[in-house]
Amino acid sequence: MKTTTDGSGDVRLSGIGKTYGSFTAVHPLDLTVPQGSFFALLGASGCGKTTTLRMIAGLEEPTSGTVHLGDLDVTGLPPYKRPVNTVFQSYALFPHLDIFENVAFGLRRRGIKSVKKQVEEMLELVQLGEQARKKPHQLSGGQQQRVAVARALINHPKVLLLDEPLGALDLKLRRQMQLELKRIQTEVGITFVHVTHDQEEAMTMADTVAVMNAGRVEQLGSPTELYENPRTTFVANFLGTSNLIEAEVDSRSGGDIVLRAGDGKLLLPEARCSAPAPAGGKLLVGIRPEKIALTHADDAGSVPEGRNRLTGTVADAGFIGVSTQYVIDSPVAGALAVYAQNVERDTRLVPGAEVVLHWNPAHTFALDAAQDIDAGTEEEAAV
């Protein structure tokens, strides 16, 4: 159960893809999950994340590519010969066996005779020692979920695969189980690959997140990196909310790109631009809602120099306790979302008020304008 760094628990997917007839579920992709990490595959339903997971488990045969666990090529191995275990979305606990036998199943299949001590220890780890002789249907959803985790973990797999394991739980229990899973992962040090459509879940639990869309990995990185520096409109919109503004490259000054949006001028650090930016070219400028500050138009003079600024009218203000969520109508950029902490709130910022939006240029990012600006938003998902 100790964490080793010899890389024997790395999961390496090379060119792995899956097609069903003419439908491509997963486009050939390369992915390396380092030993001992908590890795999340994040995406909307049907994006290929579960198929990818099932190919690692061996439950789905890839159309192309290979799966390596450390140095071992497992592509051709059936699931029962792979040192990998899965926690299924429906838990898939065996209804005819009690909790003890469910957890002991993997050990017994590998011909281990004295399972009692191990099973009891594992049930202790997930705090279900008292329930050993109950049948799965006698347990609550959260308890069943923990049995499913215990049943997989007892085999000390090189990799534990979790397929939306918290999907069936209510919100409160889900938060609790997120912490619980994270604790278990830290304790056992096994590589976890977690599939989820819940971006908050992925960000709170995982060290590394791969955002998938339409059978491809859009971007891979730490939660902070994905959030602060998205490289596609899908990632920008799917993880949290982004304001995307169409702008034209005007010139360069120092390490910054100067952009023109309507009659306004916006600065963008060159390093934060993920698309080629020739003079006269188009870009999508992005800024997260909580990075924007609002100042009433009467005080426009107090906005420090060097900040990116736009003007607009407050269209809507929603008070949600810790913050207020504004929608600002801007002649240049349409509707912009702004989240302001409720500290020293300016009471003049009510719908109809003229405001100046301003932010530190360092928070600006820019994307290739050739993409769908609405990719990954909720409106798009609803279609």
Partner: protein, 266 residues
């Protein structure tokens, strides 16, 4: 008014008891008349108590032979129909193949078709094939009509089974054979058992189809029918009562086993 409330409170119990009585009355009559000593050849009027028939259950010529034959046919028909039917049920639920829908409805047909029609057409088939009527034709016919019941019972069970359970088993180091014995079969078992029990009962007491396709062979239901023309020996009641008791015993034992298992687990 008090009577009315009393009735209302116990309505379910009373209805249940009445239904039970309705179901069991014929069995009680059969049991009582197995202790009768009839005058003449017909066992339709109570004369006086005797255990003669119980002491000599095979005292009537050919009866125990036909009983043995019926049990034998029922056993083989159950084995054949359960094995085939279980496989068909799995195929119909698990796999997509051409004409799956057609097979699905064709399997159902023997249950819906009048038995006489099936019996007559089977006889035509056997005669045209030049088959010798007897044990084998009866067995083939029984397997055929039992099949539908087994398929229906097992299919319902397999359909409600989460395919992820078998994936979980494979994921937990169980090979295909172990997955089948440790997970698939135990979960499908209640459906298979129900199908097998139905098969046995249906085959054992089938008269119409058997009568058409038996040739000169005589099964127990045919023997009862034949003797009813000329007189009913008390031994028929003895056999009937014995069968009933065996069935009750089965139920009691299985109930005890499940209860004990439940206690152990709790």
């Amino acid at each position: 008014m008090a009577v009315f409330t009393w009735l209302k409170r116990r309505l379910v119990v009373i209805a249940g008891l009445l239904t039970l009585a309705y179901l069991l009355l014929p069995n009680i009559v059969v049991t009582v008349f197995s202790f009768n000593k009839p005058k003449g050849r017909f066992n339709y009027e109570w004369q006086h108590f005797s255990t003669d028939a119980w002491q000599d259950p095979c005292g009537v010529a050919d009866m125990c032979g036909s009983l043995g034959l019926s049990l034998q046919i029922a056993l083989w028909a159950t084995i054949g129909a359960t094995a085939l039917g279980t496989m068909i049920a799995f195929a119909l639920v698990r796999y997509r193949f051409r004409a799956r829908g057609a097979v699905n409805s064709l399997i159902f047909l023997p249950m819906a078709m009048p038995e006489v029609v099936m019996a007559a057409s089977l006889l035509t088939l056997f005669l045209n094939m030049g088959a010798q009527l007897g044990f084998w034709t009866i067995l083939i016919a029984h397997i055929m009509f039992c099949l539908s019941f087994v398929v229906t019972a097992v299919k319902a069970r397999v359909m409600s089974m989460d395919p992820r359970l078998e994936e979980a088993a494979r994921d937990l180091y169980a090979g295909p054979v172990q997955t089948f014995w440790r997970v698939t079969l135990p979960i499908a078992a209640p459906g298979i058992a129900a199908g097998a029990l139905l098969s046995f009962a249906l085959s054992f007491d089938d008269f119409i189809i058997t009568n058409f396709n038996a040739g000169s062979t005589v099964t127990f239901p045919m023997f009862v029918w034949g003797s009813a023309q000329r007189g009913t020996p008390v031994q028929i009641n003895v056999i009937g009562t014995a069968m009933f008791l065996v069935a009750v015993l089965f139920v009691l034992v299985s109930m005890l086993v499940t209860r004990r298992r439940g206690h152990q687990k709790a």
